[in-house]
Point group: C2
Chain length 370, copies 2
Amino acid sequence: MQLKRPEHDINLNPLQRGGILTKEARDALVEFADGYSVCDFCPGRVDLIKTPNIKNFIHEELPEFLGCDEVRTTNGAREAKFAVMHSLAKKGAWVIIDGNAHYSTIVAAERAGLKIAKVERSGEPKYKINPENYASKIEEIRKKEKIVLSLVTYPDGNYGNLPDAKKIVNISHAYDIPVLMNCAYSIGRMPIKMKKYKADFIVGSGQKSMASSGPIGILGVSKEWKDTIFRTSKYYPKKELELLGCTTRGASIITLMASFPKVKERVERWDEEVNKAREFSKKMEELGIKQLGEKPHHHDLMFFDSEVLYEISKKHKKRGFFLYQELKKKGIIGIKPGLTRNFKLSTYQIPKKKLDYVIDSFQEIIEKNK
Amino acid sequence: MQLKRPEHDINLNPLQRGGILTKEARDALVEFADGYSVCDFCPGRVDLIKTPNIKNFIHEELPEFLGCDEVRTTNGAREAKFAVMHSLAKKGAWVIIDGNAHYSTIVAAERAGLKIAKVERSGEPKYKINPENYASKIEEIRKKEKIVLSLVTYPDGNYGNLPDAKKIVNISHAYDIPVLMNCAYSIGRMPIKMKKYKADFIVGSGQKSMASSGPIGILGVSKEWKDTIFRTSKYYPKKELELLGCTTRGASIITLMASFPKVKERVERWDEEVNKAREFSKKMEELGIKQLGEKPHHHDLMFFDSEVLYEISKKHKKRGFFLYQELKKKGIIGIKPGLTRNFKLSTYQIPKKKLDYVIDSFQEIIEKNK
């Protein structure tokens, strides 16, 4: 069966930007393509394999990179959030999440049987999370029932906003509530050390931001929590329950490892990415396309509000699909078919020249159809 | 970072035999290597994507192949077992499992908070599961507490035994207990239709037996249970809780799909594999190496008991490691370093000529060291 990915030149989908493999990962992928290829020398658990040296990667390199005490890979960021929630869940207990949380956070909490309290965000245009609202939400819930976890999305996947995580941790800790930082869109893009925020759990995504083949996530925890989250089977003392013994094998872990040296380098150049994003935002605004979320922006993921494109769609014979189709003709994909008024995109790792081409393309499309 | 897999000519590890990629899968892997590569045209859930046509694969081809009503891919066979157990779990409830169950079955049950009752197997040399023992175990447990699931490993990963699953289903159903068949070592190797056994859930492994890059599993269910297992979020009506919305993306799902036509063909040639295994077993026995488990054997996964190699290891300066090292010199890997007396191996998809070479190698090693 021949399977081909549709061709494109520029993909603006935020999901796709951080997961493009490095050359090293492509080579390793082919080398370790077979199912259990990394398990030739398994000592009983994937994170303890020394050939290839997964052990050193998971137990030395990743904790240092994340500034936390213990790390494990998981089957994805959502699976890492679920592992923490499932470990902490008690009957009738609650999790406090930010109003910009990803749907998978909510689904993970539901699956773990937790009740969900959402911290309100501010309205248009910034959709910001005010840390003080964690305090009021915690006060409200704790009167009735137990809270086992606070969660902050850093940044969120809609607006690319980076809330004051340190303050959220301080507030939650004052109530003895541990905090999970969902960094699926930050770990591997920008420098993140869990200790800096004094958080208890940190979650990243290989395929979202660490140049890996999916699906793979990483879960970092503080030493205070490691025995809770990584508790072992009473029948198999080496096997960790939340990981069902072993998690990601084969292509996923090997691409994460192979890309890692380059990923470590690229987070050091984060400033350049932020500058590119800001410049792009500025030029979009000059076309009458408004950037929502924090401004000046601190991340490559941006949400736009475009009355001008929406007005065109009302009269265009292709309706809302015209934008997708016009962009596609120019080799640009990643904005969802049908959207014109509100859409998100990412400028991550797109060269400045190509971003200029994207801007020129928007301008042409507007002028041609207005 | 350059990562190389150690070279070898023949790998006898049962884990490795069924997960070797087809050429089609290798091509697709390179094409869809990037993190979210299959999600370019996502309509909100991975199993509904039409480009590439994952929807048809998961909702048409796999149910037909497995003889069941609904299928989803999961992050692995263990994750599929956990999804079922977690959906059915009640406080204080039990799962009945066969005495040859894989450790991941036990760990999944523990993680789901289920108590575990093991159906005894017969002793050496056959280690068989007698279906009648399910009845007595169920009778014993149901007096005290609720049983939510029976599980049978088909075949087990130590002896390659294939118990009478149909009878186990009949017995369990007589007590209104649904049955899960763990077919990680059979789906993709031998023809398996869930309906033939009247089971309720069936679990397979992409990397173990379906020529896929790991990790990916498949979970088939009957229509009676689909709304229980694939129940959706109350906040996001499209997202299935046990799958946390989406499961395997990228390399894993694309290799499973790309290999599938060849996998369908190979299960039709299962008889040849059984014959090869039986012949191999016979020749090993002629060398004084006894095959345990069912005889005549019905699967490529076999367990051997070798007094002759064990006796050598007692006097050899490399002790138990001599066998691994001698085989490795001959390009044969897959028997765990240190083992001589008891070891398992698989003949799956190894050409007859190479199997003869393996037999000759064992003979030479015995003669040289005796």
